[in-house]
C-alpha cells in the first residue's frame, strides 16, 4: 500500500513520543524488549496522531503476511459439489476477515499437485495453513511439516495420534455415531446396516467405530463402504439390500450418502421409516430438510469448526509479551454432536 502523504508517519510518532524510530516500530509490532514507560509514551503518541502502521513495513518487522492458506485435499470438483466445504470456508472466512487476514484457497486437481502446494506454503506467502479432508498416505502433511508453517487441521489427521504438536479441530465422530445407532436400537430396530465414508479418512473410520461400539455382533455383510457422495450412498444401499433384504435400519456416515440411500430405498419399494429407518450425519442444510422424508441426523457445527480452526491458528500466531498474558500453545478441540430428529427415523 502506498502511504497517503497526509497520513502521520512513523517519524512523526517518534518525534511526538521523544523516542527513536526503532522504538516506535518495536512497540507498534508487539513491544518486545521496550520498557513499559516508553511503551506508554509511544502508545499515547500513536493515539494522538491517529497513526496507522504501514503494512509493508509492519510485515518486514513482524514477518507477518496477514494471509492464511486453506488447503482442501480433494479435487476442486468435489470442493464445489459438497456444501460441507463451503460451510467450513464460511466460518474460516468470517474469522479471518475479523482479523484483516486474507483467505488464500489453494485449489488442487489431485494428489500430484500437493508438491506444488507444499512449495507455495514454504515460499513465505502465508502466516499459516488450515488443512482439511486429509486422506491416509497423503504426502501433504510431510510437505507442510517441511514448509515449516503453523498449521491447524480440520479433522484429526490419521498419522497424528499422540503427537503433541499436531493441532486439529474435530467433531466427536465416534460418540455421534454411537448416538445415531442407539437411537435406531431404541426404535426397536435389530438388523441395522452401515454405509461408511471413505475409510482412508479418520472421520469415516471413527463413525464406523461408533457403529461397532453399539452393534458389537454386526457381521461385515452389514457394512458397505461409501464415499460421502449421494451416488456412493445409493449404490451402497442397493448392495446392503441385496445382502440383507430384511434390513430394518441404516446409519449413513453423512447426509449426502443418506440422501442417496433414500433414493435406493424408494426405488426398491421400501417405506422410510416404516420398513427401513435412516439416520445420517452432519445436519447439512438444506440437504437434511429437503430429503423425502426429512432426515434424522447427527448435528455437527461445520461453520463453527471452520471458525475455531482459524481462531486457533491466529491465536498461535499472536506475539507474546507487550502486556498480553502469555498464552499457552493451542491445543486440539473436539466439538460435541447432537441428535436431530426428523421423519426418517
Amino acid at each position: 500500500m502506498s502511504e497517503v502523504t497526509s497520513r502521520p508517519t512513523l517519524e512523526a510518532v517518534a518525534a511526538r513520543a521523544g523516542v527513536s524510530r526503532a522504538t516506535v516500530s518495536r512497540v507498534v509490532n508487539g513491544g518486545e524488549g521496550v520498557r513499559e514507560p516508553l511503551v506508554e509514551r509511544v502508545r499515547r503518541a500513536v493515539e494522538e496522531l491517529g497513526y496507522v502502521p504501514n503494512q509493508a513495513a509492519r510485515s518486514l518487522v513482524t514477518r507477518r503476511h496477514d494471509a492464511v492458506a486453506v488447503v482442501i485435499a480433494e479435487p476442486e470438483t468435489r470442493v464445489f459439489a459438497d456444501p460441507f466445504f463451503a460451510l467450513q470456508l464460511r466460518g474460516i472466512g468470517k474469522e479471518l476477515t475479523a482479523h484483516d487476514s486474507q483467505l488464500v484457497l489453494l485449489l488442487t486437481e489431485g494428489r500430484d499437485d500437493h508438491v506444488r502446494v507444499g512449495r507455495y506454503l514454504a515460499g513465505g506467502h502465508v502466516d499459516g495453513a488450515l488443512v482439511f479432508s486429509l486422506h491416509l498416505d497423503d504426502p501433504l502433511p510431510g510437505l507442510i511439516h517441511g514448509a515449516g508453517v503453523p498449521t491447524v487441521f480440520g479433522g484429526r489427521p490419521g498419522w497424528g495420534d499422540g503427537v503433541p504438536d499436531v493441532v486439529y479441530v474435530d467433531s466427536d465422530n465416534r460418540g455421534g455415531a454411537r448416538d445415531a445407532v442407539r437411537h435406531l436400537v431404541g426404535l426397536g430396530r435389530t438388523r441395522i446396516g452401515h454405509i461408511t465414508g471413505p475409510l482412508d479418512q479418520t472421520s469415516a473410520v471413527d463413525r464406523f467405530q461408533g457403529f461397532r461400539d453399539v452393534m458389537v455382533d454386526a457381521g461385515p455383510r452389514m457394512v458397505v463402504e461409501g464415499d460421502f457422495t449421494p451416488a456412493g450412498g445409493e449404490s451402497a444401499m442397493r448392495e446392503l439390500l441385496d445382502r440383507c433384504p430384511d434390513l430394518d435400519a441404516v446409519f449413513a456416515a453423512n447426509d449426502l450418502s443418506a440422501s442417496g440411500a433414500l433414493r435406493a430405498l424408494r426405488e426398491r419399494g421400501r417405506r422410510v421409516p416404516d420398513d427401513v429407518a435412516v439416520v445420517g450425519f452432519d445436519d447439512m442444510l438444506p440437504v437434511a430438510e429437503q430429503t423425502d422424508p426429512p432426515l434424522t441426523t447427527i448435528r455437527q457445527d461445520i461453520e463453527e469448526m471452520g471458525r475455531l480452526m482459524a481462531r486457533l491458528l491466529l491465536g498461535g500466531l499472536e506475539p507474546r509479551g507487550a502486556g498480553r498474558e502469555a498464552t499457552s500453545a493451542p491445543s486440539s478441540v473436539v466439538l460435541p454432536t447432537t441428535l436431530v430428529r426428523r421423519a426418517s427415523a
Copy 2:
C-alpha cells in the same frame, strides 16, 4: 524444495559446459544476453546431466512465483452457489496445472475486503491475477493496477473501453442476446419481456443491449432487473406478469434466473412454451437440462473462458528471447455463442 544430493547441480552443468555459473543460470532462466553458441553448450550439458533447476533459485532469478491469483468479486456464498464460478475455476485450474502453476483463490466477504486483496496481490506472492465478476464502482481494478501485477479479466471490465492494455476474455453477450430474442420473434412471439442481470455488470448490460437491438420498440415496462439468481428471476417474472399479463415470451439473462422464471410461470398457471416461451443464457449444465421443461438457451463455453484467461496470462509472462519467437502482447478474446434448442422455446 530441498535439493536431493544425487541431483546434478548448477555447478556441474557449468563445469560440463565450460562456462560460469551465472551463464548457466541466465540460460536456464530464459537466456537473455547470452550468445547463441554458449546457449547451445549449456543446453547440451543440461540435457546430458538431466539437470532440473532448483525452484527457489529459479524464483530468485526469474522473480516467478509459479502461482496465479484468482479473484472473484462476489461474496463467497455466491461463489459456491453459482456453478458458473466452479466451471470457470475448473478451466483455469486445468491450464495452470499443465504449467505447474498454483491456483490461489482469494476469497472475500464483500467489497470492504478488496483493499486487503490488493495488498496481497502487491505483496509479491503471485505472478499475475485473473479477475472476474467485476461490478461497476468496484475499487478492485484500481487496487490491482496499483499492485502492478499482470492481469486478465473475465468479462469486459466496464471502465476498460478502449484502454489498450486491459486484457479480457468474454463471450459475445450482445450477439448471443440478439440470437435469443430473434429466435422468440421467429416463433411468432410479439410481447417479449426481458429479465436482466445486475446492471452494474457489463455482461448484463450487453445482453440487455442485444435485447433492445431486436425489440427496438419495447417499452421499459417489459424489462425487469434481476440478479442472476433463481430467486431474483422468480420475483422478476412475477413483476413482468403483473405489468403485462398477456406477455408471450421472456428472455432471461442467465439460466439460473430462467429457472426461477419457470417456477413463477408454473405458479401463475402459464404453460411453457404454449403460453409463454422462455430462453435463457449460459447453457449451464445440469441446470438447463433439468428445468421443467428443459431450457432453450444461448450457450457460452464457460470452462473454455477460464482456460483462455489462464493461457493469456501465462503467455504474457513467458520470457522473450532464448530462441523463442518474440510474442506480441496478449489481446482480448471474445468467444462466439450458439443457440441450443430444448423444449422451453
